[in-house]
């Protein structure tokens, strides 16, 4: 198969206003930089973005917020950026905060055909309000529904034209599960290799989950909190 697409711009041209998009990354680590920048250039609006965080001022999802392209965010931890905070407090932006493990499992469930699941996380808290609770073997659980998206933006380390992907270190994070949970998954990779060059044992995301792939770069890979020791 050949799932290569020319560029990030060609890929985001597929996305209509009002789409729901999952974006990989934890903080700024492992975010799909090329696709976010292309979506910003194209100006697609009224988006629902599903991402662990919301970027920072001037980088990552932060640029989409500044351009008022995002209507709703589903995330686990936000507020690393002033524009987000402003839109949140003025209610211009709808925000749905989800416990991180529930967030991950809802995405996993979305990609795996699971209709709902019980988790102990959040029982008795605000996040359980309006949801069914049930006790199994003496533990209380909350019923959670899957998360799915129209598109997923995934950042891989290496990829091939079949869509097989590997990831590098903690840049993996939510990328592999988001790749499974969208109708159309677009992958950007740092190295695009010939089929067979990735050892099948090393493939993290099998190509079946990926519809489009392109070679990204150059990557900025900004660091949010640079902590170093002497040496």
């Amino acid at each position: 198969m050949d799932k290569r697409i020319d560029s990030a711009d060609a890929a985001v041209a597929l996305i209509p206003d009002g789409a729901t998009i999952m974006m990989g990354g934890f903080g700024l680590c492992g975010i799909p930089e090329m696709l976010i920048a292309a979506l910003h250039r194209r100006g697609t609006r009224d988006l629902t973005v599903i991402s662990n965080n919301a970027g920072v001022d001037g980088f990552g999802i932060g640029v989409l917020l500044e351009a008022r392209q995002v209507r709703k965010m589903i995330a686990t931890y936000v507020g690393e950026n002033k524009e987000f905070e402003r839109q949140y407090l003025t209610r211009e932006l709808e925000v749905d905060l989800v416990p991180q493990g529930t967030f991950a499992e809802r995405i996993r469930a979305g990609g795996a055909g699971i209709g709902a699941f019980y988790t102990p996380t959040g029982y008795g808290t605000l996040v359980a309000e309006g949801k069914e609770s049930r006790e199994f073997d003496g533990t209380h659980y909350v019923l959670e529904r899957p998360l799915k998206a129209d598109f997923a933006f995934v950042k891989g380390d290496r990829g091939d034209r079949h869509g097989n992907l590997t990831y590098r270190r903690t840049a993996r994070n939510f990328n592999p599960i988001m790749a499974t949970a969208a109708r159309v998954t677009i992958a950007e990779v740092e190295t695009l290799v010939a089929p067979g060059e990735i050892d099948p044992d090393a493939v993290v995301t099998p190509g079946i989950y990926v519809q489009h792939i392109f070679l990204g770069g150059p990557y900025q890979k900004r660091i949010e909190r640079r902590v170093v020791r002497e040496g």
Partner: protein, 215 residues
């Protein structure tokens, strides 16, 4: 001794050889610099790393290698990387022996509030609700009272819950308090304080263990 350092050192004494440990963002993260000699533990970071190492040197800094606090870190020999779904399967599945988290309030039933203050900017709970629901042991590391001297260990949390009946032990700059089936038990007080001072800054009911140890 500095208040934070006192808490960190006492929390470090909670670590057991062979533990898989998740340290929360902020003060709990600093416990990693005070692991007692002879104790071999593996640090879990919920962004997808088992085997968190020390901060990198300038030459080792790698933007693809961070902890859950988004700080640059290193990985020890024998580390592994995994997705967010796997990371929280470890957490909820009871595979993490110990988590150390900060708190705004803990109450006498072991309920924890540490993620939001109504009326203030709500940043989100991150992984805290999952950690308290799934880790085998939950230790809270916090200052005993607020900056203006209000108790944080209270009869009933006034702030929104992170989890119900989830806390096992509270370590503060003044005291070590266990949450038991029969309520709170004061096990230890700091060298520089008195039982009366601890009582004055604790609004929850507690019983005093005998003999009361010092730390």
């Amino acid at each position: 001794m500095d208040t934070r350092l006192r808490i960190i050192r006492r929390v470090a004494a909670e670590l057991r050889d062979g533990d898989y440990v998740n340290l929360g963002i902020g003060l709990p993260t600093l416990v990693a610099d005070h692991i007692p000699p002879g104790i071999d533990i593996v640090l879990h970071s919920e962004n997808g790393l088992l085997g968190v190492g020390p901060s990198p040197t300038e030459a080792e800094v790698d933007p693809d290698l961070i902890n859950a606090g988004k700080e640059t870190v290193t990985a020890v020999a024998g580390a592994s990387y995994f997705s967010g779904a796997d990371s929280f399967a470890m957490v909820r599945g009871g595979h993490i022996d110990l988590t150390v988290l900060g708190a705004l309030e803990v109450d006498q039933a072991g309920n924890l509030a540490n993620w939001m203050v109504p009326g203030k900017m709500v940043k989100g709970m991150g992984g805290a609700m999952d950690l308290v629901a799934g880790a085998r042991r939950v230790v809270i590391a916090m200052e005993h009272s607020t900056r203006d001297g209000q108790p944080r260990i209270v009869p009933r949390c006034t702030l929104p819950f992170t989890g119900l009946r989830v806390v096992n032990r509270i370590v503060t700059d003044l005291a070590v308090i266990d949450v038991t089936r029969d309520g709170l038990v004061l096990r230890e007080i700091a060298q520089h304080t008195t039982l009366e001072a601890v009582r004055a800054l604790t609004s929850a009911a507690f019983v005093v263990d005998a003999p009361l140890k010092r730390f």
